[in-house]
Symmetry: D3
Subunit: 129 residues, 6 copies
């Protein structure tokens, strides 16, 4: 089983990514996800650069992006990601009421996805534009 690679034990290549994560997020240390990915510095760098690009506020604000990330993680049942993006969404300003509504939408979508599958509902012509 892989073990986390801490800053003190990391190569210069890995430290450079860790430094950028810490500076970008204003945190004293990176979280476990990055310490495990550090076993593969190429994937570490690509994943961090991708996450940084994707999660930067643009047409969608940071809070909405974190809630979408959480919605996907809950659908997939990824416990680590539910915990980490749950914390991130909270930090990005989602209230308890928002969390409750988010879970309600996620649950409902997972339900109706299966009702649509089970009844083999054909796509309405009106949805094709």
């Amino acid at each position: 089983m892989p073990k986390p690679i801490h800053y003190a034990d990391a190569s210069a290549e890995v430290r450079a990514v860790f430094d950028d994560i810490k500076a970008t997020r204003g945190v004293p240390d990176v979280n476990n996800f990055w310490k495990y990915l550090a076993h593969d510095p190429v994937t570490l760098r690509r994943t961090w650069e991708s996450v940084k690009q994707v999660m930067t506020p643009g047409a969608l604000d940071a809070r909405t992006k974190e809630m979408v990330y959480l919605a996907v993680s809950v659908t997939n049942g990824c416990e680590y990601c539910i915990a980490s993006h749950g914390a991130a969404a909270r930090k990005a300003g989602r209230s308890e009421a928002m969390f409750g509504e988010l879970m309600a939408v996620v649950g409902m979508a997972n339900e109706t996805n299966r009702l649509a599958n089970g009844y083999r509902v054909p796509v309405d012509a009106a949805f094709e534009w």
Copy 2:
């Protein structure tokens, strides 16, 4: 294979739900999803009442809710729901730029969910509050 039940052929019980959908959404007819669910009037009513409650703007606005619905449907690969909630999100005001960013977040979350699984990353103590 179930066939759709159209308004003209529907029972009073089903028509009552169809009428409420049409009035609530301001549309001339319900979409296929409801016409298939009409085979089971109890589930039809419960599902509609639930969707209506869940999708009403509250702490989250309608557009955000539609985008979360779409994010779940894309993750699950439900074609009908991708088409219907894609259309609904568009109607609720998501721009093409928002759609692009939404897909980027959904894709990234699906990727990192598996990286976290594969490396068996333990949840950071800091995420437990």
Copy 3:
């Protein structure tokens, strides 16, 4: 893309499996699933022997087994399997009312699975026996 292998073109090894499927099910021809699996005679035989063993009535009757098969296929969104096991469940005697209740349970389970994930609900001690 693989093409179906029809009885007339099949090897003796494949025909032997096709003959057993037809005799066991009392059907004049096998369905597409087996005609495609015929590209790999070893997997064809193992899958058929396994399905035959698993789907034989035992502690659970044939209809219940077909409904469970359908529930899994709907959850996974496998269109072929929804169609084939939907037809099989119908042949095994599931009524339209049973189908409606089955879909309702499948939908609800998919919803509450995500609510449990999202709230990170710990398993109750009472469930461990």
Copy 4:
């Protein structure tokens, strides 16, 4: 991370739902799922009313419904739901033999769903009725 809301600390709105769950199921306390959902009283009530409606014996008996619920939860890998509906199915009378056969069907369906996907098997005309 959300914490459970116990009866003693719950609002009147939440207590009313807890009371109905306890009375309907004849149990002295609700399980963790409801104590976490209590953070969102509207979703708590809707989910309980929906589960109560869906799981009431009808065309399908209680035991069959619990086994289908378990089949979906196992497919999705939802540990909480596997534990809770595993316990519920057991309480509803599923024998150890039934459990074994249920798992065998769930496993087989998950396998053949992917064989059908991988070989891109087209739906037989005979399955469309």
Copy 5:
């Protein structure tokens, strides 16, 4: 909750399968998966015979097969299978570099699967041969 069935407490039928697993793999004891499946001797035997057939080196070598097994398990988020087939892939000779590239491919495939879903990309004619 099922408990493991150890060799000393197992029936002759179960012991015969355990003996074959131990002899085939050259291990002093079977792992937990088989001790739990032992509750259902018919499924235990069928599953073992199937795994043995499927995982035997053929057109694909053992290491490749173990990596594919791991890729599926990571996609599904099955913790037990990630741990057991992670160990098996390692034993079959996958290096740390191979593990890193494997995870990178699994992550990327999960991402692009959703991009293809979300944009509803039609299959190119060139992919149909």
Copy 6:
């Protein structure tokens, strides 16, 4: 519904990515996936750069990587990806026998993932190293 963006209608930014895909792969045109992603040039570029990095032969050869990609796509039921990576794996030299064995492993892994879930099998101490 998004429409494909063809080279003739593409911006300079999109054309630059299309040109690199065509040169890298030695193909006269890009496939549909890229023509749809072209609606979001930033995601187009990032996804292409990532795929190019991840799929380049390294510790794992190109054929193994394509087979893993296909295994994930089959597990997720992404039809586009099954078709495109099925074609790519074939081009990369996978024989029909390899395809058959690959599908057999994917099917078996999906089955045993659920057996492990359903029996709630705890990870063996021996798998933690």
